[in-house]
Amino acid sequence: MTTDIWGEKRSKEKTFDPATAVERRDGLVVIHADRRGEDGRLIHYKILNDIIRQTILEGSRHIVLEGVMGHRYIASTADRQDLYIEIHGTPGNNLGAFLDGPTIEVFGNAQDMTGNTMNAGRIVIHGNAWDVTGLAARGGTILIKGNTGYRVGIHMKEYCGTRPTLVVGGTAKDYLGEYMAGGTVVVLNLNGEVEDSPVGLRLGAGIHGGKIFVRGKVERHQLGPGATMNPVTGEDAPELEACISEFEKAFGLTVPRDWENYVKVGPASSRPFSGHYDPTSV
């Protein structure tokens, strides 16, 4: 027994053999995240992530996580290009944080902060992904079949040829693409009508780089400061086509190419605050 800082008496977490959660079958590694310890507690994220790291170190390039129930921080900083992690269940917050190359596919919903500060790689979610998805991502691709929450794609940025891409099949809430400094966000509104708006308020607030494509209606009052809105032109079609075909391939869906229903939201300036300040030292 040990006393933790909350003053509770709590038994040590390591009450089971991690090996009991790992199964090797057909050349891949299956990790059962729903195994419980002797104390009846679900496998702790620290142990789960440790098992994942060990499995990668041992050379596994295809890892299946079964029965994930809100386990946080899965695959943070994983950096093997050829690594594929398949997740069944609901991964917890910060899935694939600082991800740098691997592909993560979630057959379920993801929670908040998926792909936090992602550098490279691919996260595919066959469900919804909630708030702050793709925060500060500077590369890689996030594909969400369903809807996403508030403050998604915040401060995504591009540099030296790396660009992040985020495609949402359904809808997004307020502050989509806030502070955005590069990359592409696409909201496809596949479950709604094109007369409806699939995005919330303060869209692209403070945007100073990158683009947000929205299929559906965007009213002027929905735009945040610094954002401008234009119809999609032939110039944008190849980029949109690339994002959409990747989305179709990932989920086996067909997305209409009705460019006339899309709007493009972008920055009014790459220097939104020049002129805001008085540099005279008085």
Binding site: L135, H208, T280, S281
Partner: protein
């Protein structure tokens, strides 16, 4: 805008000049060195002589380069009718804002003469009842350990020591000083190189700032604390794993609650690559971290960083000293931080709105004491290392900060001054004539990183020797025994209420 060259004529409603360069034309060798070195373009060579053309900021570069010693910067006497309330400072701000309509920017720490409690406290010394120690002949330990302290140490029956929990990672520094977070971007490549070199030579830590870690600086990584700020500039798995410790920056003393704003003209190719941001655009750090809206969220970012670094390095949090600092610090320790850095309101910056720098936050003396008392009361103080910064100007400030409750201090401005900075408060303009706060290559090359590093090393070595002198005089043989030892401080100022809040007795009060 201040007048920047003679081609730009003074508007009749602009404020008069603050500084004037006086040239002794008899001594002047007409080498034009001062004109060429003045990055503020306040000097011109006209009609065979050096002529001040306005815009002098008293950076002092011209004086130091003049081979004839014929220059003198004079503070222009006030040209304003005297008024104690509408003082010159107030009137200048009004005039400038009426001309530009902008939010006033500034840099360095506040120059307003708020009371400095460091200067209102006196240290104790040993007399008769406990002996003083001669630090030149006896060991006075200044090694400082950085990191979380977990669980308890138990002595078992076999006489061996056991830890209740796995020990947390620790870093040993040779002195209780950390060079604060000064990012590449706010300062030049040469300046950051000098600071990192000094940290390595001193065996102390230096902050990376939020500008990422340039690949040339990877060899310094064992002495670098990487920073995760709201812009996540340059933050990758490699950056987190490579460095000695990771700090999540929530706030900065000079601008609590404000994000960062590196203007596009400072985002050069070097900065773009290191920060991993687009070239030439404004580098904006959002005001909050958008994944942190609560202590629970902070706990998640701490946890994800610990997961990412596989629990091998200390992970801490830096906060600006604000009114509720005690409760915030308590939450941060409970969230699992291994160290807390508290930055007082007098702390420096490369750029901040003046309104925030001059009017927001808490003085560091009070903040340290409040945090130390709160954490001690809650039984948490032993779990963390507390760094304190925000205008630690001298070893005296450092010693008093430690006695108030900090484990170590974070120093930036003093290190800059050692490198040549004159605290002219123009960093945000990006034309630092000393090659420190600039990205212009012709200016950056003025700073020799080796010379600058040596000066920083000498400064902090001398501070550490002064620390030993004081510790010896107090009869304390290890700096750890001074931490939070407020009984060795006495308040000698006008406000006994503040002494009470800091938990420091008034001069004249004894032990009992």
């Amino acid at each position: 805008m201040a007048q920047q060259s003679s081609s730009k004529r003074r508007m009749e409603l602009d404020a008069p000049e603050r500084f004037m360069l006086v040239v002794d034309h008899e001594l002047c060798k007409k080498c034009k060195k001062c004109v060429n070195e003045c990055s503020f373009r306040a000097l011109e060579f006209v009609d065979g002589g050096v002529k001040p053309v306005g815009g002098c900021v008293a950076c002092g570069r011209c004086i130091n380069v003049c081979p004839a010693h014929c220059l003198e910067i004079r503070q222009v006497p006030s040209q304003f009718p005297a008024h104690a309330n509408f003082n010159e400072r107030v009137r200048r701000a009004i005039m400038s804002q009426a001309s530009t309509g902008g939010v006033l920017l500034t840099s360095c720490g506040t120059d307003i003469g708020y009371p400095v409690m460091f200067d209102e406290m006196l240290l104790d010394a040993a007399q008769v009842t406990n002996p003083a120690i001669d630090p030149l002949r006896e060991v006075v330990e200044t090694t400082t350990f950085v990191g979380g302290r977990k669980g308890r140490l138990e002595v078992k029956e076999n006489g061996r020591l056991y830890m209740e929990e796995d020990p947390a990672p620790m870093i040993a520094m040779d002195m209780p000083i950390m060079i604060g977070h000064i990012s590449l971007g706010s300062v030049s490549y040469n300046a950051q190189k000098a600071l990192f070199t000094a940290a390595r030579q001193l065996n102390i830590l230096a902050g990376s700032g939020e500008g990422g870690l340039h690949k040339d600086f990877h060899p310094f990584a064992p002495n670098v604390v990487s920073e995760i700020a709201s812009g996540r500039f340059g933050v990758t798995g490699d950056y987190l794993k490579r460095t000695a410790a990771v700090e999540i920056k929530i706030g900065q003393g000079a601008k609590p609650g404000h994000g960062g704003h590196l203007p596009g003209e400072k985002v050069s190719a070097l900065i773009s690559q290191t920060r991993m941001i687009p070239l030439g655009t404004d580098a904006l750090s959002p005001y909050p971290h958008h994944d942190i809206y609560s202590i629970e969220d902070l706990q998640q970012l701490l946890s994800v960083v610990k997961e990412s670094t596989e629990y091998k390095v200390p992970v801490g949090v830096k906060i600006a000293a604000v009114h509720n600092i005690g409760a915030i610090a308590s939450g941060i320790v409970r969230a699992g931080a291994d160290f807390i850095t508290i930055d007082g309101f007098r702390g420096g910056t490369g750029s901040t709105p003046r309104i925030i720098r001059d009017h927001v936050g808490l003085p560091i003396e009070v903040a340290i004491s409040v945090v130390d008392q709160r954490l001690t009361k809650e039984g948490l103080r032993n779990r963390v290392t507390v760094f304190a910064g925000g205008s630690i100007r001298s070893s005296a400030d450092m010693i008093k900060a430690i006695a108030l409750g900090a484990d170590a201090v974070m120093v930036c401005t003093a290190a800059m001054v050692a490198m040549g900075c004159r605290v002219c408060q123009q960093c945000h303009r990006g034309v630092c004539s000393w090659g420190i706060a600039t990205q212009r290559e012709e200016l950056v090359s003025r700073l020799d990183p080796d010379v600058a590093a040596t000066r920083v090393v000498r400064l902090f070595r001398s501070w550490n020797e002064e620390l030993k002198e004081i510790l010896g005089a107090m009869g304390i043989d290890s700096v750890e025994s001074l931490v939070g030892n407020r009984d060795r401080l006495r308040y000698f100022g006008p406000n006994s209420k503040i002494a009470e809040i800091m938990g420091v007795k008034h001069v004249g009060e004894g032990w009992g």
